[in-house]
């Protein structure tokens, strides 16, 4: 009796159900599918709300990977009693009011979807006490959502100023989602990763993360103290991050890039330490990744990944964050300019390396580097301090302010120039070892001798410098070859027997549209008909290369990124081999004069910190390190 009726109902539902507006609760559940993918996405939405509320501290409690319970508590502005119910209804937000606001979003959230979406797939309680200046500041109120999606009216509660959102039994009513959740540990790892990202971007906010009652992360607010900022970096990214990274800070019109990149010699086998923030929002953007990758191309071995924490600030009107519901991707109005800016700043910083080598001037399309973009309206000052003040206390590490690099440029003497300028000294309190001697001592010091025919030992102001002679010499030769290659004209070798390449017509079209810029590098390719290209002339340096493959790779790059640096890379590869063959081999005895000459040369050459294969060329054992070895001075 039941069976036919069920069948009839199904038939009825599919064939002749009228069009109607969906119930709000259902709409919210559908929206939740986009925003609330897993417990970590709930944490993301809630933490971003807390940040937008201008809090100073966030506590996150997680139980069973966030599936059983998630609670996010902040000490922000809070929500007045009469707005509590509104906060849980769809498209209700305090962050944007009209279309104009949307074009200049300064807050992390703005869609007004998160809370109702989360509420529709969990048992949610919202408790809040508005900030002291509000009407009902002295009492906290709580509001909940029932299983059917109906609001439970507000009732009094006990709560300090700020807001708590308590999310229990996530996905209890969407079994499909629940089935796709991974183990408790995996889900918690996602939350952990997310909290780390937030913590990196907001050193001024104290963050506490607990899982099943255990403290996982407990980070105090840095409050403008650079030591604490660096401590936080080390706590989140490994103990050596601050020491082995290069700080950077650069502005152009409307753009400011600051943060840290790990020295290429300390690259990673996984792309797991790449944090890029646009206006405080963590993004994973193809354009950004490509720009960074390209900047690292000449100093990183293939298959290695750079590590960085970078912040790009730009006026909100120049970036569209309303592209992706979870806001992982952004769209830049001037994408080309942003790409070039990121590339240029990073490339220059990597060229300088730890020694602060001066680069030849990079042509700057936006020459008048105006003031950094104005503080974004409505957001508290939460940028990291500038590079200069972020220097660690080790006096000899050349991590001085931008200003001192300018000074270096003038004097061609990186260390001495910088140090003689008291105003730029980042650590006036640091002990000054033998100050008279240090004035004249170059950064890599003077050679003491050779070890095993492979390493050079040198005495520097603050310790012992060890240099891999072959690696350093190789990089010096490589940079010299590259410079002369770039300054010379392109020499082409026409082919007696042209190389035909068969491609799809669309690819041939693509290649033809870039043919002119490629020809400037010495590769002359003609299009015979719809789908056949023929290589007529090649760069003389790449005479022996497989040109068919080169053309195909170029097309693949052009299709994917709209540009390609493959030819340059191949040419660099030839030059690198040449440099390797002409550099000093192991077991060659060098005199002290030769060694000192090498050290001085190293101080002048770009990208000297790593050899052509991305390995380090020199390391320093500081006096403190040596003292530690012998348990001295304790």
């Amino acid at each position: 009796m039941h069976l036919p009726r069920a069948g009839a109902f199904w038939f009825h539902a599919v064939m002749s159900s009228p069009i109607r507006i969906l119930a709000d609760h259902l709409v919210n559940q559908i929206a939740a599918g986009e925003v609330v993918e897993r417990p970590a996405s709930v944490v993301k939405e809630l933490v971003e709300n807390s940040l937008d509320a201008g809090c100073g501290r966030i506590e996150i409690d997680v139980e069973q990977g966030g599936v059983k319970r998630l609670r996010v508590r902040d000490d922000g502005r809070g929500i007045p009693r009469d707005q509590l119910a509104l906060a849980l209804s769809r498209h209700a937000t305090s962050k944007v009011a009209e279309l104009r606001d949307l074009e200049a979003v300064g807050t992390l959230g703005f869609r007004g979807e998160a809370l109702p979406s989360i509420a529709s797939v969990s048992r949610l309680t919202l408790t809040s006490r508005a900030a002291a200046d509000a009407d009902d500041a002295d009492s906290a109120w709580e509001i909940g959502v029932g299983a059917d999606g109906r609001l439970i009216p507000a009732r009094p509660a006990a709560h300090p100023p700020g807001t708590s959102v308590d999310v229990r039994e996530l996905f209890f009513n969407t079994p499909a989602r629940r089935k796709f959740l991974r183990t408790e540990k995996t889900e918690f790892d996602h939350i952990h990763q997310l909290v780390r990202r937030v913590a990196l971007a907001h050193p001024e906010i104290g963050i506490q993360l607990r899982h099943n009652g255990k403290d996982i992360l407990s980070l105090g607010a840095a409050g403008g103290d650079e030591r604490k900022v660096l401590d936080r970096l080390n706590a989140l990214l490994g103990p050596d991050f601050a020491e082995q990274s290069l700080a950077l800070e650069e502005s152009a019109v409307d753009l400011r890039l600051h943060g840290w990149v790990m020295r290429p010699a300390f690259s990673r086998s996984q792309p797991d330490q790449q944090f890029f923030y646009v206006n405080g929002r963590m993004v994973r953007d193809k354009l950004v990744t490509h720009a960074v990758r390209q900047a690292f191309s000449d100093v990183l071995h293939h298959g290695r990944h750079p590590a960085y924490v970078l912040f790009l600030d730009t006026p909100p009107r120049l970036v569209d964050v309303n592209v992706h519901p979870a806001k992982h991707e952004v769209r830049f109005r001037e994408s080309r300019q942003v790409h070039d800016f990121i590339y240029r700043v990073l490339h220059r910083r990597l060229s300088q390396g730890t020694l602060g080598v001066t680069t030849e001037a990079v042509p700057d399309p936006t020459p008048d580097a105006g003031p950094p973009p104005a503080q974004i309206a409505g957001r508290p000052a939460r940028a990291f301090p500038a590079v200069g003040s972020a220097s660690p206390p080790r006096p000899a590490e050349v991590r001085d302010s931008r200003l001192s690099y300018q000074a270096d440029l003038a004097f061609q003497r990186p260390r001495a120039g910088a140090r003689s300028e008291p105003s730029s000294d980042p650590e006036p309190m640091a002990p000054e070892p033998a100050s008279a001697a240090s004035q004249s001592m170059p950064p890599l010091g003077f050679a003491l001798g050779q070890l095993n025919g492979v390493y050079l030992l040198a005495q520097a102001v603050d310790g012992l410098v060890l240099v891999d002679i072959h690696a350093a010499h190789e990089r010096i030769g490589y940079e010299r070859l590259k410079r002369s290659w770039k300054s010379g004209e392109v020499v082409r070798q026409p082919l007696l027997v042209p190389v035909p390449v068969q491609v799809a017509p669309r690819e041939a079209e693509l290649f033809a549209s870039h043919a002119e810029s490629i020809a400037r590098l010495g590769l002359i390719v003609e299009r015979l008909d719809a789908g056949s290209l023929v290589v007529r002339e090649v760069p003389a340096l790449l005479r022996q290369a497989d040109m068919e493959r080169m053309v195909r790779d170029l097309i693949a790059d052009l299709a994917e990124q709209g540009r390609s640096t493959r030819l340059e890379e191949a040419i660099d590869g030839v030059l690198a081999t040449l440099a390797c063959h002409t550099s000093v081999r192991a077991n060659r005895r060098l005199t002290l004069d030769e060694m000192n000459a090498l050290l001085r040369e190293m101080e002048r050459v770009e990208r000297i910190d790593q050899c052509n294969h991305g390995r380090p060329t020199w390391v320093k054992l500081a006096h403190e390190d040596l003292d530690r070895l012998f348990s001295r001075g304790r």
Binding site: W485, V491, Q493, L495, V497, E537, A540, V574, L578
Partner: protein, 366 residues
Amino acid sequence: MEFVVNRETLWPIVGKVIGVVERRQTLPILGNLLVKAQGQQVRFTGSDLEVEVSAECAADVSEEGETTVPARKLADICRSLEEGADIRFQTKNDRCVLTARRGRFALGVLPATDYPTMEIEQGGRGISLPENVLKRLLEKTAFAMAQQDVRYYLNGLLIEFQGEDMIAVATDGHRLARYKIRPGGDFGEGRQVIVPSKTVLELKRLLSNSEEMVELLVGAKSVRIAVGHTTMVSKLVDGRYPDYERVIPRSLEKTATLDKDELKGALSRTAILSNEKYRGVRLAFGDGVLRLLAHNPEQEEAEEEIESDYSGEAISIGFNVAYLMDVLNAIDAEKVQVQFQDADSSSIWRGRDSDDETYVVMPMRL
């Protein structure tokens, strides 16, 4: 198997077959030489599966048989033995024992039945020509073969039989060498084979300047070359060679004749100050004089003049010195003749009055 052979007889034989044995291989037996004693002859064979060389010599065989012995080790022992020493080969207990004077060397062996010898192809065209003629054909052209080009058919020497002509052509895509001989007889319709570069280089090494006749047997898939007691069998490259006639320019209007040794000397001197990677030198043809110019990234410059019989408008062409030197080394005549058009088109080089040779060299856009 047991035989005695004198070092002076054995060493040239081993030296001939060792060339084709690769230093590293995945198939261990290819590192060995096949040794076969029969009648009063011993035959040694080396192979890399592409090309196989075998040579025989007379020996005092007391027991017939065959085995394989490590090629490099045998060669090294032979080379370092005293002159005139008699060497006794004897197999027992999976070892091949060499005794010479007071030395004794027990080498590991692999079974001769496992040795991959090339099948002899039936049919094919036989050609016989003097050894020195064949050697000359290779020396004139082999240098222009491509090495490990992805266009595999360029990694070899094209031999074309056309009417009475036997033509060898080699190109690596940047320059081309062609040389023509008439070994006698009519080959009729055109027929092309591509001989792999390793075979060509090995054959060039094997051939002497004697006038002894060499027997070639050109099959569909392999070629067999017999010189005296040495036989070489090689697979042919399966592919279509590009139409080389099309890249040899016709109707080049300008001609200059130069002294070969003068040009060689001037080139090698100016090249010292050319870019070390692609070694570009500019040849400026003017009235009665050829100026060679080179400069390098350090802005150092070289300039030298030699006499030429050129008259006409001044033309300057860039060249890769290595290509020109290869050509000049292959030319026998004392005077070289160069035909050219302008800075962008290819030029033809040959010895004066040596119409059987043609060298096409692409210019470089310096």
